[in-house]
Symmetry: C2
Subunit: 771 residues, 2 copies
């Protein structure tokens, strides 16, 4: 039993209770503000219930058996807030529960153009009564505080139905395991503040015990039923419930629309927060169910016009890539200065924290497909500058050190070798800000946010590194993207990203001298960038990931059984760190993001070297490997990696989709298409392409938005076609040849033959699945 392949939807037919924890994640709906996991309306059976509000968290102490200076003391965990999805049904006093009776038909589907999750179930109760339940659910892209569910029951025979529509706080959650990647479960985190009802509506206000954040959830209903409807509403503590009892004749239908309003605040009072969610509900009712549906579709139509990717020759991949784009949009669309978490709003994994993944993998996608969402996420980072400055200060550094993982911007990582030491986070923030600015010409953002982030991160780098006796600028004792090596000197990725950060900070200050610090500081940045050390192993003819890396012991891949992956769950960090085993693209990521710093020969040699040592125990890897595989000419391998990135969640490759989708991997699928097969690079807003297709795909097309211009790039085996969808002419390059995409039928360019290199080898058993 699995997903059905279809270009514009994700559909699952049949009931598979043991798969619910997975499909709740893939069927999650969100708008960047509210996230609803795809659990059944009747609440049970359930894998892991989840209703999230971006930024709403609970605090908890981080325990240490041995404390160290500067260790963060407070952790933050995303909270499963008041659940408004629940609509329970009694069919003649038998509760609808798919674990009992017989489920004759059952299917669920997300429609990527409609922006809805629909469900259609034909159920026979243990005593033989049949009912059909249809529901359609949305989390509105246009009204960010609103979600809604249309719920329809159609009994085969005349029957009495009782519907209970709940707001339920402190839902019980099954205990989660010891896996460090799984969020710490919090028991009953919410304290009831207020409850009220009014006709068919109710509101509950709670606050989180330790963080003190306050949340309000409200529901209202429209019921469309035959005569004899009897309703009752009650609210108290953790539960608000509308009960509707009705006798439905054979062939009749009970139809209910449930509107949900959510809001939270660290500051606002109970009445203010109540008013806020009731206002949201009023707006939603004013728009009405069909209005919400129409707005949703219009929003998505616009998105797909800007962002659609078409893949001919692999229907499953076509679906997966749209699935990826849809979920990335859901994660960021209406974040509005809140973070985009590693799992978006699809599950509690990683405690709901945002990582560097957002800036490095997710924001490039949004920058070219939904730039306002990218801007909002960057504004969130900007809003955390006080915490990042404070963190840098605690660490004895200048400028701003962005956290490894956080909800509020305060560091929540309790393991510094892979947290604090991963200073490349700050370069990722700077890089994303630069990319966004160049791709949008949003000078207002640059002046109000971008420059400050660049200046503060540049300050971090110069205070973190030092000029050695020979003048070289070293950044020692840091951790790069590869989490299987830590606390190393001169990590090539970090040094190259810091170099760009420093140079872009200088450039931005030159553009806006009124916002620039004094010249001596700029000169120090320039000098550090100019003298940045990039280690190179002359003997092997490759870049060591960091100093000494290529002299480390090789990992015994032949002697590592498949069940010992991911390695970090079966081998100690000390042994991973001291060997040539790579969790995820690091030097290879440097070759993507700082491709200008490597010759084509170096790229080919480095890629082959690191391919043989990269195990992809991280979902942040395949997309990047696809990009460089394509660049150095291994198109079939690029295709395999593209498919792996795109299928990470649909095939649950890391066996943890239960905890939410991997946003960076979803983003990696897009990147693998656009930067991999399309060869798109953007250095300073200058877009270049070098498209080439693997044999299995007959045509790939993608759309992008740059400085208000939307273009489409269509690729087949012989040619690429560049077309202006809307906006002004755009200067681009195709395999090094520059031209301007003008309005009209577009430009077709032949695709040159690629290099023909021997296929690289992966560690034993770690070759990506052949597509």
């Amino acid at each position: 039993m699995s997903y059905q392949v279809s270009p514009w939807e994700l559909r699952w037919q049949g009931l598979a209770i043991d798969q619910l924890h997975r499909t709740e994640s893939t069927f999650a709906l969100a708008n960047g503000h509210i996230g609803l996991r795809g659990s059944l309306e009747e609440g049970e059976p359930v894998g892991l219930p989840g209703t999230y509000l971006n930024g709403f968290y609970e605090s908890h102490a981080l325990p240490y058996a041995e404390i160290g200076y500067g260790y963060p003391e407070d952790g933050q965990t995303v909270v499963n807030v008041t659940d408004g999805k629940i609509i329970r049904l009694l069919v003649e006093d038998e509760p609808l529960d798919l674990r009992y009776g017989q489920t004759l038909d059952h299917e669920r589907a997300i429609d990527f153009r409609a922006g809805t999750l629909s469900r259609d179930t034909l159920w026979e109760s243990p005593t033989g009564r049949r009912v059909r339940i249809r529901s359609t659910r949305l989390v509105s892209f246009t009204q960010r505080a609103v979600a809604a569910i249309a719920y329809e029951v159609e009994p085969e025979d005349a029957v009495q139905l009782v519907v209970q529509s709940d707001l339920l706080a402190n839902e019980p959650i099954e205990r989660v395991g010891k896996d460090p990647r799984v969020a710490a479960a919090l028991r009953s985190p919410l304290v009831a503040d207020f409850a009220a009802t009014d006709r068919l509506s109710a509101v509950l206000v709670h606050h989180a015990k330790k963080s003190g954040l306050r949340i309000a959830a409200a529901m209202d209903h429209e019921i469309d039923a035959q005569d004899g409807l009897r309703t009752d509403i009650a609210a108290e503590g953790d539960l608000a419930r509308l009960t509707a009892a009705v006798d439905v004749p054979a062939g009749g239908t009970l139809r209910l629309v449930k509107y949900l309003g959510y809001g939270w605040s660290a500051q606002r009072s109970i009445p203010a927060l109540r008013a806020q969610v009731e206002a949201a509900l009023a707006g939603a009712r004013q728009t009405g169910w069909s209005g919400l549906l129409a707005e949703q579709r219009a929003f998505l139509d616009d998105f797909w016009t800007a962002a659609d990717v078409e893949i001919d020759g692999d229907d499953e991949l076509q679906q997966a890539v749209r699935f990826a784009l849809f979920h990335i949009l859901q994660a960021g669309a209406r974040g509005e200065t809140r973070a985009i978490a590693g799992k978006g709003l699809t599950g509690p994994g990683y405690d709901g924290h945002a990582f560097w993944d957002t800036e490095t993998f997710v924001l490039p996608v949004l920058t070219y497909t939904s730039p306002d969402a990218a801007r909002d996420a960057l504004r969130w980072r900007h809003s955390t500058l006080p915490q990042a400055r404070e963190r840098a200060k605690v660490l004895g550094k200048r400028g701003a050190a962005f956290p490894w993982r956080s909800i509020t911007g305060a560091e929540c990582s309790a393991y510094w070798p892979a947290g604090t030491a991963a200073f490349h986070v700050s370069a990722a923030v700077a890089d994303a800000a630069v990319r966004y600015t160049a791709a949008t010409d949003d000078r207002e953002f640059e002046r109000s946010c971008g420059i400050e982030m660049l200046v503060e991160t540049a300050r971090l780098w110069v205070s973190l590194g030092h000029h050695d006796q020979h003048g070289g600028f070293r950044i020692d004792g840091v951790t790069g993207p590869d989490e299987y090596t830590a606390i190393a000197d001169n990590n090539v990725y970090t040094n190259l990203m810091a170099q760009r950060n420093l140079l872009e900070a200088v450039a931005a200050c030159r553009r806006h001298p009124d916002l620039a610090p004094d010249e001596s500081e700029l000169a120090a940045w320039q000098r550090a960038a100019d003298e940045m050390i990039i280690p190179y192993d002359d003997l092997l003819g490759v870049h060591p990931q960091s100093e000494g890396f290529t002299e480390h012991e090789e990992w015994d891949f032949e002697g590592t059984p498949p069940e010992n992956y991911p390695l970090l769950l079966h081998y100690p960090y000390f042994d991973l760190y001291r060997r040539q085993v790579v969790k995820q693209a690091d030097l290879v990521l440097a070759m993507h993001l700082r491709g200008d710093a490597f010759s084509p020969e170096q790229k080919a040699a480095n890629f082959a070297y690191y391919e043989a040592r990269t195990v992809r125990d991280s979902s942040l890897s395949a997309g990047t490997q696809a990009v460089i595989a394509a660049e150095v000419g291994h198109l079939d391998l690029a295709y395999d990696y593209l498919a792996e990135a795109a299928m990470t969640d649909l095939h649950d490759l890391h066996d943890n989709v239960r905890n939410g989708l991997h946003m960076a991997s979803l983003a990696g699928a897009w990147t693998a298409v656009v930067a991999g097969l399309g060869g798109m690079r953007d250095h300073g807003g200058d877009l270049t392409f070098a498209p080439r297709l693997p044999a299995a795909l007959s045509r790939v097309s993608f759309r992008m938005s740059v400085r208000g211009t939307r273009i489409q790039v269509e690729i087949d085996h012989t040619d690429a076609h560049y077309r202006l969808v809307s906006g002004s002419p755009l200067d681009v390059a195709h395999h090094g040849e520059r031209f301007v995409i003008q309005p009209g039928p577009g430009v077709t360019r032949p695709i040159p033959k690629g290099p023909d290199l021997p296929a690289p080898v992966q560690p034993a058993g770690r070759r990506p699945r052949r597509r």
Copy 2:
């Protein structure tokens, strides 16, 4: 107020309640099995009460906010067991409490030859009654389960006295701070199993809640009083109490001798353990108080004959060095296959754990002064081989990996970069076993313990390191002695100690072919040793502590205020690790223990380089710096370091004597005299000397025991005199000249003039105090 200088005792005159937490440590008595902190008999005022039994601990979970594979889950903490020191006094219903009334005289003294702690107090109660209290306390070196207290009250006027002599379990302990170096305090760890009384004796049996270890404490009394003595005894749960009421006439005396018996076991039943401590008491009473005193003195006379150090020209140092030797003896004398903890049995610091300190710093002292104690400590290590093998296995290595910190031998370190990664622990164990064997010719030990430890540690090293492309044997990603650098490649100290470990393992196997593994394994050890990489910085002409060290950023010592030491409490690890700042001798320790691997010029250059970067935030450093300072000719500096090592606890230089004495630093004082001023080196049992005195000392003499031979070395400014105290002739060397010490008047040799090098510089503010 401070200690009075006296050659054979440590005396404190006057009452200083705010210093009690310190003097309880310095006045602690122990015999390696039982430890009693020097708290007052009346129980209060008290700094930190403490009664310890070597090896008795409580378990607790080690918490991690982010767990990793192979992290130890169970911690162990030394427990303050049933306190038998308590003798409370009521003077006409006024409790003797030095916080009330007036203390007219008060002094306490440890006598290094008698092995007793005496106390003499003249107290006037708030209502004006005067009593003199004298007590003498001992923890028997000859009867290891026994301690005893003679307690005498002499009132000025006729008065009624009530004495309460207690066994008290689960004594309340004041909460300790956040300092990671302070032991986790455990609340009420003991569960009462059994209590009984018999005439003037009582016994309490408890077990620790989680570890399940069982402990029995028993007391018996002799009371010598005038007529009218009335006694009562009771025991229940956590308290056993003998109450004695007596009317003492003017000039009369109440005299009480309290005998204590202690025992613990992981296996034995309540009756068995009770029988064990009652038998100990019976023995003690049979010997009697004066008999115990006599045995104690005879034991110590023998020790001082073998081990005494005389220092002319610095009386305080003379006292401090004997204080050091006395406490080292106390820590190890009767350990009998239990560990020697970092704090001995003088306090709860470091949770009562043993570290590599024992093998590297303490055992060399015991090897030459009390070799049976050294043997017993090594037998303890040997007994932990199963845990060390298991640990190596968990870490994916062969052989045995001894723990960074432990009571039982199981790793208890919760911070792997300074725990697991410090594999040099295993080399320290091997080195100590080799030294002991060579210095004693104890072939029975070698066959039953030594070889196995050498073989298993050699196996660890070959599985930990690897031969690189050029054949060099590398040991990457480990932490050397300097805790301000971690997870580094090719730490010189580690590589040199591993090299010796491998070579000694080969040699031992050649001596005992019947116990040797097959030849191919020996060949692998030999090859790893032969090809061991020892990095060298040609440009600077010094050895980098580990690869890349000399290219790291310098620490800003000028900008570091004195209150920011120790640095680890004020700066994050990440920043310490990546800079040229050294917590404690590392490369310099290598130059002591592997002096054969460095030329004199390298020693001078390296010493100067590391002096400028070593902050001595560890008490393990000064003694070693003294040794190499003396070797390279800086005798005044050696003298300063010797004094610092010797005074670490008496002057409470690290402000943590409250938690116990620093055994390794006390040992460092001996080492600074013998290996520093005496220039003693022992490579394979071949003793050599290169004595030289600083200007301030007129004469230094020390004694040593080697293979049953006791010698004395006396040094003045012109000559050294070598004399046989007892035993067979001994082949030694003096400044390179070989000769044999024969029975008779001994050999006098002139001391050559030393080199005259510019004085090395220390980090700003970190020069040792000039003596």
